[in-house]
């Protein structure tokens, strides 16, 4: 079995040593204590800052790969002439202790940006970024990664997957990038034992059981959304609860819609790709004043069509949701993914 052959183990003290070595080669972004005690993803200043037991931060690590304001073209003015040059960020980075859902979110973004025509500004940064995930042994209450094939443990998409066994970490390597992260630190790792492998399996099984016996509603919602069989009145009712804050888009690991804007002053300008939200009325507003999605219900419909329709599923090979539950936490109007999907299945909305 591939996993048993590749699997190794490291003590947590050894992992901090390893982390220190990685920090010499790359910027390491990991969960740390932020202001007020919340956990946030942030560049590590010292290995000891890293958290092993934490609730997944509200902001996913997507900002590492797709910054909110991302410089893509430098525009320089020289008299009456302009020179433009692409801006590439190829700094080496390691995402350490990110969760399975976020690894799947990054895989989703990679697929989208690599699709024809490939987006070099994203791909070059992504090429230099490696992901070390920490599997979820105790999923949060709002999570539903089990419904979206994105957790609590991963079978693919990771560079390295760690599982917390208590004193030690179980280590699985999933890619060439992952192998490269171990190179030079082999002295810190040892082969995993059969009982450790068994313990990892038990942890995965118990994590899965924590989701209970709930049946996933995505399939029936997908059928209705893809064939236009969601009543307009239902969209209208649901969208009455949407406050148009765009929070669901900003914290979603798979949302990538953007606008292009120039920043800076006359002599030195930078063209930036900036996050945008399909829930904002101005997202589709045209210069003429015409707005094809003026109504809130049409914007909400758009968001769920993009995320859950079979048309996009066929294109992307996945739905645009990784079950992280962040929209459940951030939405003040309760129009989060599980609530809307359940309402579509039932054909009714109670708010």
């Amino acid at each position: 079995m591939a996993m048993a052959q590749q699997a190794s183990a490291i003590t947590k003290a050894g992992a901090l040593e390893w982390l220190g070595r990685l920090m010499e080669q790359a910027e390491v972004i990991a969960p740390v204590a932020g202001f007020g005690g919340d956990t946030v993803f942030s560049p590590l200043r010292s290995p000891a800052q890293i958290r092993w037991d934490f609730e997944n931060p509200l902001h996913p690590p997507k900002q590492t790969l797709l910054p909110q304001t991302d410089p893509i073209v430098s525009i320089q003015r020289d008299g009456d002439c302009y020179e433009v040059l692409p801006i590439y960020d190829e700094s080496p980075r390691v995402l350490f202790n990110i969760r399975s859902c976020d690894v799947k979110g990054i895989a989703f973004l990679e697929r989208m940006h690599a699709a024809d025509p490939p987006d070099a500004s994203y791909l070059r940064r992504a090429e230099r970024t490696a992901a070390i995930s920490l599997s979820c042994v105790a999923p949060c209450a709002s999570c539903f990664c089990i419904c979206t094939d994105s957790g609590p443990f991963l079978r693919e998409s990771y560079d390295i997957q760690l599982t917390d066994l208590g004193e030690d970490l179980f280590v699985e390597v999933g890619s060439k990038k992952g192998e490269a992260l171990l190179a030079g630190s082999q002295d810190l790792f040892r082969a995993a034992t059969e009982p450790e492998l068994e313990r990892r399996r038990e942890l995965e099984e118990s994590a899965r059981r924590r989701f209970g016996e709930e049946t996933c509603h995505f399939a029936s919602a997908m059928r209705r959304i893809s064939t236009g069989r969601v009543a307009e009145a239902l969209w209208a009712k649901m969208s009455d609860w949407c406050l148009e804050c765009g929070g669901c888009n900003l914290i979603c690991p798979t949302c990538y819609c953007f606008s292009v804007k120039d920043r800076g002053s006359d002599g030195r300008l930078v063209r930036c790709r900036m996050w945008d939200s399909c829930q904002y009325p101005a997202f589709t507003l045209e210069a003429s004043g015409h707005n094809p999605r003026e109504q809130r219900k049409d914007r909400m419909k758009r968001r769920f069509f993009h995320k859950v329709s079979a048309q996009y599923y066929m294109r992307d090979g996945a739905i645009g949701c990784v079950g992280c539950g962040r929209c459940v936490k951030v939405c003040m109007g309760t129009t989060d993914m599980p609530a809307v999907v359940a309402a579509i299945r039932k054909g009714s909305w109670r708010g």
Partner: protein, 280 residues
């Protein structure tokens, strides 16, 4: 130094173009004639009528504009822009020799080959003429390949008509039929008064042999298309070009998405049967 050799294939990097000529069309609309700074880029710039470019006014960003000139006339290209926001305000302040950025061409464009041998009907409203003008000149420059050509054009007032200097030429030509109307007359106007559909009564429509190209404000497109369908045109023979706030031009930013289709890549040209299928 050739710019082609110094850049990768970055999808967001514009080419530099210089404004060669600016022509006032109406009090708020100008036509810009552009030429790429690098002659090699100009030579390699091939487009179909109906395609669009992302035009940068540096410091303000970019916006999509259709190419209004015909690909049969190489050496430069034109775009006709109404002043209606920050970027177009700034563009209107630029003059000959000033530089802008151009990415593209993007989109599918009109299928000129499919129009060969057919009778062609153009119905344009106001600022909807520029994308059709590209196709019209393409067809007039290769006139013998096509059947009857009828152009119906309307604007709010005589002042709002674009390409007035060319409209006169089209009126004089005897190998096309050209009819003009305005919604509201002005002193000195002796032509038709009324919305574009009144021109259908003044010409002979041949739905069975004709492709109809319609472009204008959304409300005009709606009524013209309804009218054409009632007069016997089939959905597939009524062709329009859609407008959306296209920011990237490459199907990624999602501003122009309708369902899983992207106006910037699958369009902007659609026939009416395809438009009916654009749902989400």
């Amino acid at each position: 130094m050739a710019e082609t050799s110094t850049r990768g294939n970055d999808v967001f990097l514009p080419w530099i173009a210089r404004i060669e000529d600016v022509r006032d069309e109406t009090p708020d609309t100008k036509t810009f004639t552009l030429r790429f700074r690098d002659p090699e880029v100009m030579r390699e710039f091939e487009y179909a009528p109906g395609q669009f470019v992302e035009l940068s006014v540096f410091g303000l960003g970019e916006a999509p504009f259709c190419v209004a000139s015909s690909p049969t006339r190489a050496g430069n290209f034109q775009t006709t822009v109404r002043r209606t926001g920050q970027l177009t305000d700034a563009l209107h302040l630029l003059g000959c020799g000033d530089e802008v950025g151009i990415r593209g061409p993007f989109g599918n464009g009109f299928d000129v080959t499919a129009a060969a041998g057919k009778d062609l009907l153009f119905v344009a409203g106001g600022i909807g003429l520029p994308p059709l003008r590209s196709l019209i000149w393409n067809i007039l420059d290769e006139r013998s390949r096509f059947g009857r050509v009828t152009i119906l054009y309307g604007a709010r007032t005589p002042t709002d008509l674009v390409y007035k200097y060319e409209l006169k030429e089209w009126e004089r030509r005897d190998d096309i039929e050209f009819l003009l109307t305005v919604d509201r007359s002005e002193p000195g106007w002796e032509g038709n008064v009324g919305m574009v559909p009144i021109l259908f009564e003044k010409t002979t429509l041949r739905p069975e042999s004709t492709l109809a190209y319609v472009c204008g404000p959304p409300i005009m497109i709606k009524f013209v298309v309804q009218d054409l369908l009632m007069r016997g045109f089939r959905d597939e023979t009524v062709i329009s070009t859609l407008e959306r706030m296209m920011q990237c031009g490459i199907g990624k930013c999602n501003h122009c998405a309708i369902g899983h289709r992207y106006v910037c890549r699958d369009g902007p040209v659609f026939n009416f049967r395809q438009i009916r299928e654009l749902v989400e």
